[in-house]
Amino acid sequence: MNYVPGTASLIDDIDKKHLVLLRDGRTLIGYLRSIDQFANLVFHQTVERIHVGKKFGDIPRGIFIVRGENVVLLGEIDMDKPSDTVLQQVSIEEILEEQRLQQQSKQETEKVKMLALKDRGLSIPKADNLDEY
């Protein structure tokens, strides 16, 4: 129940399982235990979920404190809903391997692209996810 009617508040989300997407691209799933006025979040029993293609892997992380400014989006996970059967859970090692391969292939295509552009005398600056630095 909302203490401040007519507004959105994280108070009602406490002690519920949430999925949060961070600005660096990580996906965390955990129980939201505490908040503050900056929407800093304290997650409990956190798991970092890595998705590669149709596979995903969970890395247990314990307790996470997320600074509010780094949150892209945050949503409650509906426990009653049947979980997605399309995705296949794999072990941590496997998913990390998959991720590494994905990064590698991405880098290779990027390299080829840059080379092709260089041959033509063009250059496209790389878009940086970490926009401050």
Partner: protein
């Protein structure tokens, strides 16, 4: 068994309570066998014990302490502590304040009825109150129990800090190696602290726990003091929440098991739930509310306020008063407005220069002089004309907004200001009317001016908003002007398609017209040759026509001595209209925005058969 010692260290109470079966038989004075003597504990550990007795104990690897003497240990240590630290600030406080009432000892022999124990406050400081403000930086959440929801710092005297440098605000997570018995201890210890009537068992059912939580939450919006279930502080047991049934907890004692494989359990009723106490939630909410304070909500949050007003009005209209479902609106505290205007000192000439850091000196007012070249004159004229129209529209808008807000401000204004406000309102309305006139001395609404204004999209919107506020002769004149110039307006509107905004206010005006005015209006609409045809091609035109006809119909049917039929004008006009309607093929007829109900059947019939014989028949129907 609970020893008859002063329990001035409130948090230690939590360790007094343990279920019946845990008690070793017989009283014991002094330390239980499993407990290391207090002298063996380091100062730090002793401090920890004072505040969060059980936690460091677990860390001391004294498994036996857990099992045997959860209740005993700290009490015994207290004994030792008290003797060791006579000069401690704690002692001084105890001497100063006295001790809270102790439960009668006799109860310990009956069932372990500990439900009357007052819940301890969260942190180490004694019951007196919160530490002084200066000790706590602004951003920290409350650690002390707040007697009033939001002003905990004001009412409490300065208290001595009985806090060690390291604060364990949140207890360490679930210790791994616990026996079922200790789990049960933990399970029951927080539960026994609620002020339940005697006889309530120590273990709450799920429902009761939920009710407890709900009633905690429900306290806040009422704005009163904390609900009786939480006398001094948050419901803050050692592990932070009413624990789930035992089996459930056992499942989570192992770290290896998937954390959320059993759905909702670990979330709300887990061992780590309720990390945020009620007070902390209120604190965060308080900060959020503070950010919403404003001196002038209508200025800062205009759309929110208006939206809620509209919604409330809509709700009043739609629902009957028996159903009291009102969407809750956020009522923000209103901070008093501070007068910032600088009043010039009497006897001074002209504008006074107020110099500040940002404005060191007042600049000379720059005057714009326009110079036109002959070549660009015509172009500029056209452009200037448009700008002039826009300028007029803007001026009228500012007047209109003030007129529209008048009601709101009137209600809010104190008594003495109301006269002045009323005067202001009247003058504004007058100004608005005057802008519509072309020449200063001409009392009538100028056609040209209206058309000019309506040639701009914003102007059309302005007129639609303005019509309800104009006095009725002027409003009627405006509507006349619209209908007179409808073809031109329709042509100009081709790009914007916004004439239809005008339907509602124009309908309102039409309904207030008298019969002769209505006839005049219809005549204007027909205008010169061929005007009606073009009118019929336009959606707004058709709607307007239907509105007029339906109003005439209504007048005739309702008012017995209506003058509509007195001269033949109305009849003739209707005839010609019907003729026109029939001659125009239905496909090129624009569909109106809505068809007034009393015209529905005749006009539908009109559109169908196009025989000339039907025309008089339909006309008589209309009449």
């Amino acid at each position: 068994m609970v020893l008859p010692q002063p329990s001035s260290i409130p948090h230690l109470n939590q360790l007094h309570q343990h279920p019946h079966h845990q008690l070793p038989p017989g009283p014991s004075s002094g330390l239980p066998p499993g407990l290391p003597p207090s002298s063996m504990l380091s100062y730090q550990q002793q401090q920890h014990l004072l505040r969060r007795g059980t936690a460091p104990m677990a860390q001391m690897n004294s498994h036996s302490i857990w099992e045997n003497s959860m209740g005993f240990g700290p009490v015994s240590i207290t004994l030792g502590m008290v003797t060791h630290m006579e000069d401690s600030p704690l002692m001084s406080i105890i001497n100063e304040v006295g001790l809270p009432a102790r439960p009668p000892q006799g109860r310990s022999d009956e069932g372990r009825d500990l439900s009357e124990r007052v819940p301890p406050p969260r942190s180490s400081s004694p019951v007196i109150g919160s530490p002084p403000v200066r000790a706590v930086p602004i951003g920290t959440p409350p650690t002390q129990p707040m007697s009033h929801a939001l002003n905990h710092q004001i009412h409490h005297p300065t208290a001595v800090h009985v806090r060690a440098p390291i604060q364990h605000r949140y207890p360490p997570p679930f210790p791994e190696r616990l026996s079922p018995n200790t789990l049960l201890n933990i399970a029951n210890s927080p539960l026994c602290r609620g002020p339940f009537p005697p006889g309530v068992g120590p273990v709450l059912s799920q429902i009761q726990r939920a009710q407890l939580l709900n009633s905690q939450m429900a306290g806040f919006p009422r704005g009163g003091p904390a609900p009786p279930l939480l006398p001094g502080g948050g419901f803050r047991p050692f592990f932070g929440g009413p624990p789930p049934p035992l089996a459930h907890r056992m499942a989570h004692a192992e770290p290896g098991s998937g954390p959320w494989q059993d759905g909702r359990g670990p979330a709300q009723q887990g061992p780590h739930s309720n990390l945020m106490s009620q007070k902390e939630k209120e604190w965060v909410t308080k900060i959020q509310m503070m950010q919403l304070q404003s001196t002038d909500p209508y200025l800062d949050d205009y759309y929110y306020q208006n939206y809620y007003e509209k919604m409330e009005k809509r709700q009043e209209r739609e629902r009957d008063s028996s159903k009291k479902e009102h969407t809750t609106k956020l009522i923000t505290p209103q901070v008093a407005k501070v007068e910032h205007t600088y009043r010039p000192v009497a006897g001074s000439l002209g504008k006074l220069t107020v110099s500040s850091v940002n404005n060191p000196r007042k600049m000379i007012d720059a005057v714009v002089t326009s110079r036109t070249d002959d070549e660009e004159k015509r172009e500029k004229q056209v452009w200037n004309k448009r700008r002039q129209i826009l300028y007029t529209v803007e001026k009228m808008y500012s007047l209109l907004l003030e007129v529209q807000d008048f009601e709101k401000r009137f209600v809010q204004a104190p008594e003495e200001d109301r006269e002045a406000l009323l005067e202001q309102h009247k003058s504004r309305t007058l100004q608005l009317c005057n802008t519509l006139r072309e020449k200063e001395w001409d009392d009538r609404v100028s056609d040209e001016q209206c058309v000019m204004i309506m040639s701009v999209r914003k102007g059309k919107r302005l007129i639609s908003r303005l019509l309800p506020f104009l006095p009725s002769p002027q409003a009627a004149a405006v509507v006349m002007a619209i209908s007179r110039n409808l073809p031109a307006l329709a042509k100009k509107d081709k790009q914007d398609q916004v004439l239809c905004w005008l339907v509602e206010p124009v309908a309102a005006v039409i309904q207030s017209l008298c019969s002769s005015a209505l006839t005049d209006l219809l005549q204007e609409l027909q205008g010169s040759e061929g005007q009606l045809a073009s009118v019929l091609h336009n959606k707004f035109g058709v709607t307007l026509l239907y509105l007029i006809l339906s109003e005439g119909e209504r007048m005739q049917s309702s008012d017995a001595n209506c003058q509509l039929m007195d001269d033949n004008r109305w009849t003739e006009l209707v005839f010609s209209v019907t003729r026109e309607l029939l001659s125009v093929p239905p496909s090129s007829l624009s569909p109106p925005l809505f068809t007034p109900p009393n015209l529905l059947s005749p006009l539908l019939a009109l559109r169908g058969p196009t025989e000339a014989g039907a025309a008089p028949g339909q006309a008589t129907l209309l009449l």
